[in-house]
Symmetry: C2
Subunit: 402 residues, 2 copies
């Protein structure tokens, strides 16, 4: 009998480069090692008391389905939060609640493009976009951004070369994961113009919207173009409120057809989990703005610590990021995936080691990721400082250096 | 400028026939009408105290990501629950936790079939399978089951005629939504043999596994074929424990490649919500078997009430179901969707009305659904009795009868 094979699309779905090394970290810990996790955007900042209290006060007796577009109170609370905190006047009817930003992105891929169509992304790119691409059959077309250019966008003309008759959208993560770049209002306007000229969607992943440093102001497409029919915004509570595990995100658009078709897809999966929606509603209604400003301040401190200690570590060259909580670093190895594995499996300093994300997973065509890692500055400053010490020691004894 | 269109696949994604009338029910209620919801499998039975307590006792300070395959304790608790409650000895490593059975089904469609491939389903079929088909580009090929045959499976030869060189799986919901049929061990064996002969997957949606009446025993593929590489089981806490809104389901298979590829897809969406997983773990570890036996008893009582009152209602002809909590009824109208809308928008009896699911959404090719509805016996017996009274009165005055 012939072997029973899985589908071609399943075979092509990449393992998340961040998550696929996770079992090695579990093993290292089971052997008694302490592992510093700078590999993943999982903050160690406490979730808001307003959310945790709402969970503990959850008093429904039946955990029933919520409405497919999301809990109505949550949609209204989110719209109100955008208005009062950022001044963006978005109708709650333009907000579809999703199981994390991940699901909002999957809906967007499904709604904007058919299999074989193309979506343009900046390279390096958020690794899971590749997963959504494989699931949806949509090809990602990378436009390279370079460390020597501070990962800023290339010229309009350069980007334009990547547009074909199959291009359906440009997708930009701003502030950027994995580079920590905050794209300027002018860069956003340039991309929007391109999308207008070629009649394609403009998808903004604004999961890290407020995480901008050095006195910058957040740059959001919602400020001036929230009613543009080609604009789709992906949003999430995960990073802003240290609620990664709540899996509450949303898709925001004024495009009625995208909303309607996303809702059809959403109704097939029935609903987003109820408890987190109820708790998120209470939180958005009652939380003080101080939570977010304190959080941003803390991430700025961590970023400063990362820059300071990374750049005095031999074998490490980091580009100081000005947003989000990631940075791309060159390290003096020939294959960062092998090095990251080795750190988990073989290396330790005083019984401690470090988990970093190899940057290969963030690159589609370029080989630049081979000698790079993404560092998430999501732990407190003392741990970041110690992590850079561990990294330096690991690099100094790593047998397969360049 | 040309209009900016959504993708073809999005345009083809059907609205859930159950959910698309939901706004009419909201409107009816806003006008002060009481609406009995027999349209959706949302039980009114209280969720287990063990789950609700665990939510209120949730004491983590950071709502962090769970592992992509699911919380390890939950996977172990689920395996243990299957073993102690049903005697099925499934390894926790063969269980992948998903955001509801819906996500397990999406992963299965993605892993088993490529766009243009085919999956065979029994007609009438669970409406959301059509949604998953549209999302994944997989064609559903319906095999008609007939009310006059008690919705039992047709002969092996009849089913075999639907198999083509694009067929990748047979998908069966047992006990069945929407017919309430419990397929026998022999019927399951016949389908499995077919799948063996044609080297295709056999997917069993066992969301309603224990909901069988009249002294029957549950029929599960896990009993004898849990290690068969072509078998994929979809499971869920939603109905069994009245936890629809928790969105905790799983995919069970001994097929290593399906597990690995499902995990790749799962890692792209990062994780299943944390709070529900923690609460579900506590519940599965501590719940008394009485909860489920009491729940099944209650549903059997409700089913008996439904049969008794439906079949004395003029214009209604119901097939007594022997499992799950659904029944397909013929009603004396020419278009059940129009009738269901009319009941919500125009009809009321003593300011009360009824929400039923038009059966059209459960049929793919056949027009038989036009004159049928699906009735979910998910409310207590007095409400079901009253609902049948309302249905009788509505049919007696409905202007567009046959």
């Amino acid at each position: 009998m012939a072997r029973l094979l899985v589908s071609k699309r399943a075979s092509k779905t990449p393992s998340s480069p961040i998550r696929s090394l996770a079992p090695l970290a579990v093993k290292a810990k089971s052997e008694g090692k302490k592992v510093f996790h700078l590999n993943i955007g999982q903050p160690d900042i406490e979730s808001p008391k307003e959310f945790l209290d709402a969970v503990q006060n959850f008093d429904k007796k039946i955990i029933g389905y919520e409405a497919s577009p999301g809990n109505l109170d949550l949609r209204k609370a989110w719209a109100n939060y955008l208005k009062t905190n950022s001044g963006y006047d978005v109708s709650f009817e333009n907000i579809l609640i999703t199981t994390g930003a991940s699901e909002a992105l999957i809906f967007t891929f499904m709604c904007c493009a058919d299999p074989g169509d193309e979506i343009i992304v900046m390279e390096p790119t958020y690794a899971n976009y590749l997963g959504f691409s494989a699931i949806s059959g949509v090809n990602l077309v990378p436009v390279l951004t370079r460390k020597r250019d501070n990962f800023r966008l290339p010229s309009r003309e350069f980007i334009e070369k990547s547009i074909t008759n199959r291009t359906r959208a440009i997708l930009l993560c701003n502030p950027n994961n994995p580079t920590g770049t905050v794209y300027s209002k002018e860069e956003i306007e340039t991309l929007l113009e391109l999308c207008e000229d070629y009649n394609i969607f403009f998808v903004l992943d604004e999961t890290y919207r407020e995480f901008v440093y050095d006195g910058q102001k957040p740059v959001s497409i919602l400020e001036n173009h929230k009613n543009n029919e080609r604009v789709i915004v992906i949003d999430s509570l995960s990073k802003r409120f240290s609620l990664c595990g709540a899996r509450v995100g949303c898709l925001i658009t004024a495009n009625e057809e995208v909303l309607a078709r996303s809702l059809s897809i959403a109704s097939a999966r029935l609903a987003v989990p109820s408890i987190a929606q109820v708790a998120a509603t209470h939180m958005l209604k009652t939380i003080s703005p101080n939570y977010l400003t304190d959080t941003i301040q803390e991430y700025e401190t961590r970023r400063n610590t990362l820059i300071k200690f990374a750049n005095t570590t031999p074998g490490v060259n980091i580009l100081p990021p000005n947003g989000a909580f990631y940075a791309i670093a060159d390290i003096s190895v020939e294959n960062s995936t092998e090095f990251c594995k080795w750190m988990l499996e073989e290396f330790s300093d005083n019984n401690e080691t470090l988990f970093l994300a190899p940057a290969q997973g963030f690159y589609i065509e370029s080989k630049l990721g081979l000698k790079r890692v993404r560092i998430a500055s999501v732990l407190d400053s003392s741990k970041i400082e110690r992590s850079m010490e561990i990294l330096g020691k690991a690099l100094s004894v790593y047998p397969k250096k360049i």
